[in-house]
């Protein structure tokens, strides 16, 4: 699961927190029927989620006055404004050196030396299982303990490529050996990455870059193994007793196949980089197109604090970081109709003042307007219009709920509301681990009356990560914000005024930028 960066917090990924803005509730609906309850969820916390949230609300005020919060944020925002959209101030050699200092410990004594070594290590389903393990983190809680152990152990079992093998791939892809394709090339990888590894380099025009190099032959191997649908179905059925294993399988297969072609990732990342260029707090490293191919992707090298280091930062800083991540996810979803499906702690670098660098765009899902409409409608009907019947119809339209299920609408709303709790009313709310647990418990409640009538349509499968990944981060940060007001800024059916200093800075950015056309 270490995608280019050390794994930081397992717990953060496992414990889901509050779903806030549309789309997330779908997860609730579908997974109910899909995933088997496991022993993972801590038992004995019977406190209902809504109660928790209200408690959180009350706690937020005495702990940190909203007024003071605004002031601190105001100061931070001044800093932002002063820096404007300035990118990395540091020089390339310094970034290069810093990346070396943060080098991951890799087992070089086990390094894969030939393409045959790669096949022996990752062929015959192992690469596929590993990818499924990474991507199926949203079905993690449905996996048997043995399956979970197997998948996580597989990730430990993959050694890096030898410097010579990595150089061979770069040579095949770029037409030049790495020490000529780049002005400076570090032959030792700085990190393991998804089906590859990351090297640091400096380009001939003096930019410090991260070069992700794919294991040779891995794409062919994984594609061949993905063809064994019978075996995959058998395995998934065992681990995830589901009404719709085929749908899940098809979606996973599509995502895995996409991720094998780094050009796709480069396009995704460049799209996000273009979209957020000049943004006051969101930083997406630029892709170096001429040094990116199917098996090599080169992007600006970024430096910053890791998620784990945030534990030592002030709560105000953590709140700002959380706000940026929140804005990034929902602005991307509602405006660019794009969702980066891998929101795990290793994919962020933190710079203070709310500035966050977003890494790794290997798993981006684009939604059509038709797919987005019911998601937005669900939020609108539940949180804005307070119209339960319309909410139910939107759920049905999206395919989360079968039509004419013999359930009273109030039961459905009662069940689903917890996922929208942070955005149903205005006011500061603290994301907590307890609330996260409550949401997760609800999420996996198979005894729920909804379970028999709920499903996750294939194209929305990936969105479950909002529940099971992203919001876990916010819970881990104990982040406080008026999520509802931030959501209002972003909701296409609301378009509220800036509600925080960051919102104001964002509004300035928005008014000044030239919008690239959405995907």
């Amino acid at each position: 699961m270490s995608r280019g960066t050390p794994r930081v917090s397992t717990r953060a990924r496992k414990v889901a927190a509050a779903a806030a803005v549309g789309g997330t509730a779908l997860a609730a609906a579908g997974v109910l029927g899909v995933l088997r309850r496991t022993g993972r969820l801590r038992a004995g916390r019977a406190v209902a989620a809504p109660g928790r949230v209200r408690e959180g609300r009350e706690l937020a005020a005495p702990g940190r006055r909203t007024g003071r919060l605004r002031v601190e944020r105001g100061i931070a925002a001044l800093g932002l404004a002063a820096r404007g959209g300035a990118r990395y101030a540091s020089s390339a050699p310094r970034l290069f050196a810093a990346a070396g200092e943060q080098r991951e410990q890799l087992r070089n004594d086990l390094a894969l030396q030939t393409a045959e070594d790669v096949t022996a290590t990752l062929g015959t389903m192992k690469g596929v299982l590993m990818k499924l393990g990474q991507m199926a983190s949203y079905v993690n809680d449905g996996l048997s303990p043995a399956a979970r152990r197997t998948l996580s152990r597989l990730q430990d079992s993959v050694p890096p490529m030898s410097p010579a093998l990595a150089a061979q791939v770069v040579t095949e892809e770029l037409g030049l050996p790495p020490e000529r394709a780049f002005a400076t090339w570090d032959p030792e990888p700085i990190a393991a990455a998804s089906i590859g590894q990351v090297h640091r380099a400096i380009t001939h025009d003096g930019r410090a870059v991260a070069v992700k190099v794919q294991y040779p032959g891995i794409a062919e191997t994984i594609e061949a193994d993905l063809g064994n649908a019978a075996l995959l179905r058998r395995m998934l059925k065992i681990s995830v007793p589901s009404q719709d294993v085929d749908g899940l399988l098809a979606e996973l297969r599509e995502r895995v196949t996409e991720e094998l072609d780094y050009r796709k990732e480069a396009r995704n990342q460049q799209m996000f980089a273009d979209y957020y260029r000049g943004h006051p707090t969101i930083v997406v490293p630029e892709i170096i197109g001429e040094l990116s191919t199917r098996r090599v992707v080169t992007s600006e090298l970024a430096e910053g604090a890791r998620f784990a280091e945030l534990a030592g930062w002030s709560q105000a800083e953590r709140d700002l970081a959380a706000e940026t991540i929140y804005r990034f996810v929902f602005r991307s979803l509602y405006e660019a109709h794009a969702f980066n499906g891998d929101p795990h702690p290793g994919n962020y670098l933190f710079h203070g003042g709310g500035r966050v660098t977003f890494l790794d765009f290997g798993l981006v899902k684009y939604f059509t307007a038709e797919e987005m409409r019911p998601l937005a409608a669900m939020v609108k009907h539940l949180c804005l219009d307070n119209d339960p019947e319309a909410f139910r119809r939107s759920m049905e339209e999206a395919g989360f709920l079968v039509k004419d299920a013999p359930l009273p609408t109030e039961t459905i709303v009662e069940h689903m509301a917890v996922f929208y709790d942070t955005v149903r009313v205005r006011g500061p709310v603290t994301m907590t681990g307890d609330y996260a647990s409550a949401v997760t418990r609800r999420f996996f409640d198979f005894h729920s009356p909804l379970a028999a009538y709920a499903a996750i349509p294939r194209s929305y499968v990936i969105l479950q990560r909002i529940n099971l990944g992203l919001f876990a981060l916010l819970g881990d940060l104990s982040a406080t914000a008026d999520w509802r007001r931030i959501a209002e800024e972003i909701w296409p059916f609301f378009q509220g005024p800036p509600s925080t200093p960051m919102g104001e800075a964002e509004a300035t950015w928005k008014s000044g930028r030239r919008l690239p056309s959405p995907a």
């Binding site: 087992r107 004594d109 086990l110 030396q113 022996a120 062929g123 015959t124 389903m125 192992k126 299982l129 048997s144 043995a146 399956a147 152990r149 197997t150 152990r153 597989l154 430990d156 079992s157 061949a224 193994d225 064994n228 019978a230 075996l231 058998r234 395995m235 065992i238």
Partner: protein
Amino acid sequence: MSAGPYADAAGLVERSAAAYAAAVPDRPEDDGYFGPASVTWRVSGDLSAPVAGLRSLLMQALHPLAMAGVDQHSDWRRDPVGRLAATSAYTATVTYGDRAGADRAAQRVRAIHERVRGVDGVTGLPYAAGDPALLLWVHAALVDSALAAVDLFGTPIGEADADRYVAEMAVAATLLGVPQDMVPATVAALGRYITDTRPELRCTPAAAESMSYLLDPPGLDEEIADLWQDIRDAAVAALPGWAREMYGYPAPPTLTPLTAARRTEIRQTLGVLDAVFLAEPGVLEARQRLTVRMRG
């Protein structure tokens, strides 16, 4: 004849894995009887090893006296999984252990064999587990099965290395007391030996019973049981036709003929099984110890 019921096979993977992990030494005194450059290490570490193991048991059981020794003396019925794990542990120790470790393990087995004597109820013949003739059959079945499994479902090793493998493995037989000059040292000699021994082979009730247990062991985890069906089919398909006929097994229809696609599917199943094995405590580390030594 003891005819008690068989205990179930729960823990088959876990206990085999533990045996394997413990048998791969941390700091060996020497490279043992084979070593990192040997064909034996390559064949033993091949993905096809589970098929080889199961086929080998199917072959070994066809010798009535070998089967009687197991059936009448060992814990086979009471603790089949423990018995299989002990065999895995022994094989792995001889393969990967240093010489002193392999010698000690062989000494222990020879001591046990001393006590295993009796009369086979089917043939009426007396037997002794230390009898070189029986030990040689057990050895030959294992070597032949490893070659068949690698060839059909593994990474084929070529004729020269197959001969080397047979020659390298001879020491495993001598460690248990088979005189060196009895042990086949080429693929051709191995084939001749097996052909010559065929008249002594038959499927006794004990063999039929044991093997139908092994082909469909009760009590496996659902995950493993599912994979095991493919392993079983592969092992049965890898048997010589005459051995399959003795058991009365039909050739698995999905594997006749063995198409490239079906071979790939079996390999994929083996890969999943291997991933499960790898996740057991200590197995990855044991593999890594071996890999480091093989990279030299």
